[in-house]
Subunit: 381 residues, 3 copies
């Protein structure tokens, strides 16, 4: 066994690598997103508000041990607004902690905590977004991260036709949960790329920064059944008085060509599997269900500038309109890429519309329309 | 003063080292433990439960500054189930933060936060365990970590006879405590190794992965007096209405030979130094006291496979049986070592027995017997 | 574009550097402060207390991306006593997260979270202090850290005359705050160095470890207007029932010559811009306002030993004496510098005096005089 340690360290465009053949590879990266923004009305108080925060600050370790078949991926988040503190005051620093076994280039398995193979917008790293935050459709209906078993395979069914199949069996309670009762969560996803793979994994990065020379398309669809979850959003949200079965259907697409980019996704969520009682009615009626839509169109202006438009909406399921918000967002964005998504400046302006016809105190509608604008700088290696 | 920085980086079997002579050495390591398990009954609810968590995710820095006499050791824990959140919602990220002064190879002093020289099972790193968690005897009676002054010495009293003497004077309130009243905690420990030292510090690593060619034995005994602690377990546990004096006596042993391993320990804890009142009686009666026993037997099957059996029990002190659980655990484990304890797969199956004859609401006995089984993967450098 | 990666790693007196020209530079550093101390009376209970803690444990990343014009600075804190947990139980790990744009050597801008250009004692890193903690004047009146826009410029108005001008427009609510109402915070600061710059940035490091050969002086003055903050101390403190406008005037100086050092600062804070009501009167009267003074004198005894004396006091504004403490501290310190401020041993003994003439339950005066003594070891790279 000959080990080369002549070059144990490599500093590349993508972080810092420490390597010893047959022992391990460790890549180290960090990134932060600093934001200064303005809301004409805050979420729950009828006053203007300032958002001045380190939105995300992440440390990432990935690589392999023993040989490249046994991989790992760890991501830690340190900023307050990036730790799920909204739904509790327990700091959740660990975002990803995965062990992978690579059977071949076309098949690998994962065990640990990571993003479920759900909607594309969610699976795209927050470091590869073209608007500062994901859409309202995502925040209402995403299946987010979970802990369990994951499988990923690639099928080439023709000269360029590519199919990705993904699946996961997970706890159904989301990241960082301790012992929990109830059933598991089952996720399957298929993606079809009729014109072959994108440059530089561009089907999971927003904006056509690579200027695809021929049109590239990925169509994806996911289905999740969360058997007896205790949280209002399955992997996310407040604790419910009774367990609920959630079904989430997702369809999404990414299209890129010559600096143009389109990303879109559609959600449909149903909830059931429990009985209404006087005690649980309000909480169970407020479980987010219905449909969500997001569509983003972007155009590179030269190699460094980009303009983006987004429309997204959330529509409650019929019969639940007085318990849940109907949401709309229209937004424009501008990006200046200094080093692609690693180092960029972002400007955002959006209109939020929020309505519900009910009179429930817990759903105070302090705004129906508001303006939100912000700048954000991302810096990382 | 000539400084060599031709090889400031070394990537070894044991992490990544950054070195500059007469300036510092920094070794960087990480490890994670991902777990998926099943309980036929949860701790406090009579329902089956799933444990699907990143059990431990640690970052470790150690080395020296100026010269090898001044050492340091820092360990951070990031996963939720590894931050003492059970007894509060204050995240405790810092596990170890020590400064060492090495007088000689046989004598060194430490100042900071670290494990007390208590029971062997606790002092063994969670990365060197042969079952996914430590025993119930440890979790009930360990003296865990604390902040203060530590001393370690080695005495060779014959050709192979080796004695380790260890002591500590610490705050007595455990890790991450702010200003606290009351007396200190005093710990002494002696270990006797009649047949010389173990290969690769094997007296503090479970399982005979090194296949000792001759029998090796270490017998240890510790005594801790915690003067006026405010927590039910001294360095651990809930806050008490009155300070209590705790005495803990510990005896333990490690034996290894040709792939066989035995680890055993015994605890005896007494509590006193306070007066019972109507207000404090329940809390003070529930302070864990009595005896604990743990015995583990293991056998390597070839270089990579291991089977383990454990029996452990906790018996409340006479007179307190209706306030404290009587606990028993019988368990079997299997380990597949890909790179010794650094990268391993673990399977566990155990039976938990829990009883108390009292009728106190705070001690609801939702189970008397349950099954617990899990898999765990550890990966680190 | 020729990139040199022959020396991507450098291990220097100041941490570990990873460098790739035109891609990035990353410097990695850590430091910890371990402390064992005694209070003859605790803050809120009339009992002696032990402080045995990892007072600070920090990780620091700084460097640049693309080219040296685009800098960054990240500092994380992990120990419990270093996370603002006193005013809440939300862990605040991120201390600094800044992006800098260096227009020239004499002008640069910052965006993100960092220390405001306020009192000198606060801006000096906790790793460069000559006493274990900052003064009571600082803890009562500092404007601390905030998130927003920063500007720094240098003007040389004569052979040695140097002026630093600094300013910041920030959220006014302190670090790690989410969306908040109300106005911003405006800070300006000017510093005048009549005899030129200090060796090794000594105007922002306590103690004359560099033995200035000629007298060096820096006089600074800051003014902060915090428009409509919701916290009692502006960037710090408990949440108020009504927003308040705070004005803070600061004057400070640093003098060093031949091993002698003097650091002094003066604060004056006023609060207004709200109406008293029956409900808010107590909280608003307890907003810290008045004047603060701190003066420290130090003398190096040889290259490694130093003695320090401090006097500091806080005087409530007239009319608020029955709502706020009048504070005094007299202290002596001794430092043994093994590697300047990076590795040092510190001893401290101080007398705290605390009085208020009022009879408000919330301001129980459990002590008027107490003794506080401690040792602290700092170790870092």
């Amino acid at each position: 066994q000959v080990e080369s340690d002549e070059r144990p360290l490599s500093v590349s465009q993508e972080g810092i690598g420490f390597k010893k053949d047959s022992v391990f590879l460790l890549n180290l990266r960090f990134r932060m997103q600093n934001r200064f923004g303005y809301f004409s009305t805050m979420d729950n108080i009828d006053k203007p508000g300032i958002e001045a925060v380190v939105r995300r600050l992440r440390l990432r370790f990935d690589g392999y041990v023993l040989n490249s078949k046994i991989g790992y991926y760890i991501q830690l988040s340190f900023s307050r607004s990036d730790q799920d503190l909204v739904s509790g005051n327990v700091s959740q620093i660990v975002r990803d902690a995965m062990v992978y076994y690579n059977v071949s280039k076309k098949l690998y398995f994962g065990f640990g905590q990571s993003k479920l193979p759900g909607n594309r917008e969610r699976v795209i790293s927050s470091g590869n977004l073209q608007l500062p935050d994901r859409s309202i459709a995502n925040s209402t209906f995403t299946i987010d991260r979970d802990f369990g078993f994951f499988a990923y395979s690639t099928i080439n069914s023709g000269p360029k036709h590519t199919v990705f199949l993904k699946g996961a069996v997970t706890s159904g309670e989301g990241r960082g949960q301790l012992v929990s009762p109830g059933g598991l969560s089952y996720t399957i996803r298929a993606e079809y790329l009729p014109f072959g793979v994108f440059k530089n994994v561009g089907d999971y990065s927003q904006g056509d920064l690579e200027f695809e020379e021929k049109p590239k398309l990925s169509i994806g669809t996911s289905y999740n059944f969360n058997d007896g979850t205790n949280r209002a959003g399955g992997q996310l949200g407040s604790i419910l008085p009774n367990a609920v079965d959630l079904q989430t259907f997702i369809a999404d697409l990414m299209f890129k060509y010559n600096g143009w980019g389109i990303m879109s996704e559609y959600f449909d969520r149903k909830a059931g599997g429990f009985e209404y009682t006087a005690d649980n009615a309000l909480a169970m009626n407020r479980i987010p269900r219905g449909t969500g839509l997001n569509i983003q169109l972007s155009r590179m202006l030269g190699r460094k500038h980009e303009v983006v438009a987004r429309y997204s909406m959330v529509t409650p399921e019929k019969g639940f309109e007085s318990y849940q918000y109907k949401l709309q967002n229209k937004a424009l964005g501008y990006n200046y890429y200094l080093n692609k998504h690693r180092v960029k400046f972002q400007y955002y302006i959006g209109l939020d519309n929020r309505q519900h016809p009910g009179e429930i105190a817990e759903l105070r509608h302090t705004f129906t329309n508001r303006l939100n604008t912000m700048i954000q700088i991302e810096l990382g290696i």
